[in-house]
Amino acid sequence: MSSGSSPPIHWIPIGLGIAAGFLARLLALRSDYRHYPGYPAGYVSHVTLGFLSAVIGAVFFPALAAKEYTAATFLVLAATNFTGVRKVEVSKLQALDSFTLVQRGAGYIQGIAQAFEERNYIAMGVAVLTSIAAQVVDMYFGHLWGAAAAVAVAAVAITLGLVLKSGPNLGNEVDARIGKLHFEKGSLLYVDDVMLMEVGLPKARKRWLDEGVGVIIIPKTRRGAAVLWDLSQRQAIAQSVSSIVGTRSDIGYPERTPLCRMDLPTGHGSAGFAIIPVARDPSRVLEAVRRTPVLENAKTHAVHDPALESWEDEHHIEEGR
């Protein structure tokens, strides 16, 4: 190395890092039944941000190696920027939620916004790892091996990123089956043994009996039992199902709101859910319940109760994670 001047910046690791990070972001980007992002404009903003995070990540190690420390500190700036992205997502989703019949709820919104932020970090991380691999191997074994190492590291990092991308669905933690909707004491709506709400209007009760679909949700893991106690999680179920099968509800018809309530008398962590769907296909309702994401914020409410544990043993509920 010549004294005084910094070594030249290597462009190949940067290029490979950008490509890998960008690919990681693209693969994590998909619009599913949650309808988000929806329009092309939504994709453009996420693709652009993903590209920027890949650039920042890819430049990090080559800049450090070239002793361009100022450039490396830009990584810190980027982190602040992505936190800003999350805040923007939250306020946007909250604004949308205020004009929706079945709302996502605070927990779901935070989860979505967090996922967007995290995917940018994953893109950045993949880019960092790839460019490090490319440059280090390049130094000792030449360009060809450097590129090969970059591709290998990128493949592993991207796969890891995709695994980290999403949490479990509710179907991994609970069993869902169709329950019978009926009324007790005149006007209390039940799904099997779970009381949901009081429906005063006789015509509304008939509507529930004729067109409603009831679901019993039974935890099969300890985490499943814990997350159902979370109000945000149950709101997410209602939102998720009504976005898939529709809900025959509108302003002026509050008694038709889909809702999910706990089986309180037993306290076993089972829940009941009822909806008046547009598409009256019980199997799709069940599928929608199972595909609801387990909210990250709902994971931590662990309940430890000796009575519950003996019930769990009886029903072969596995140890929670």
Binding site: S98, A106, G186, S187, L201, G252, Y253
Partner: protein
């Protein structure tokens, strides 16, 4: 709705009972002659103002915001 719904107040009362038995404090009371009229009044108020109808099982219905 944002967050957990807090304690809700009664918006209106539709009752088969007499004015001697049921009186409105903070909510207006609709006295009706029979169940048919009760359903009619309650449903119309519900549709117009988006309140939910709850049956106290003693001839009195409460109309409350959800």
């Amino acid at each position: 709705m944002s967050g957990i719904p807090t304690t809700r107040s009664v918006f209106a009362i539709v009752t088969l009972k007499s004015p001697q038995e049921v009186q409105g404090g903070m909510a207006p009371v609709f006295y009706v002659k029979n169940q048919e009229e009760q359903e009619h009044i309650a449903m119309w108020i519900s549709r117009i103002t988006s309140v939910a109808v709850h049956d106290l099982q003693d001839g009195t219905w409460l109309l409350m915001p959800i």
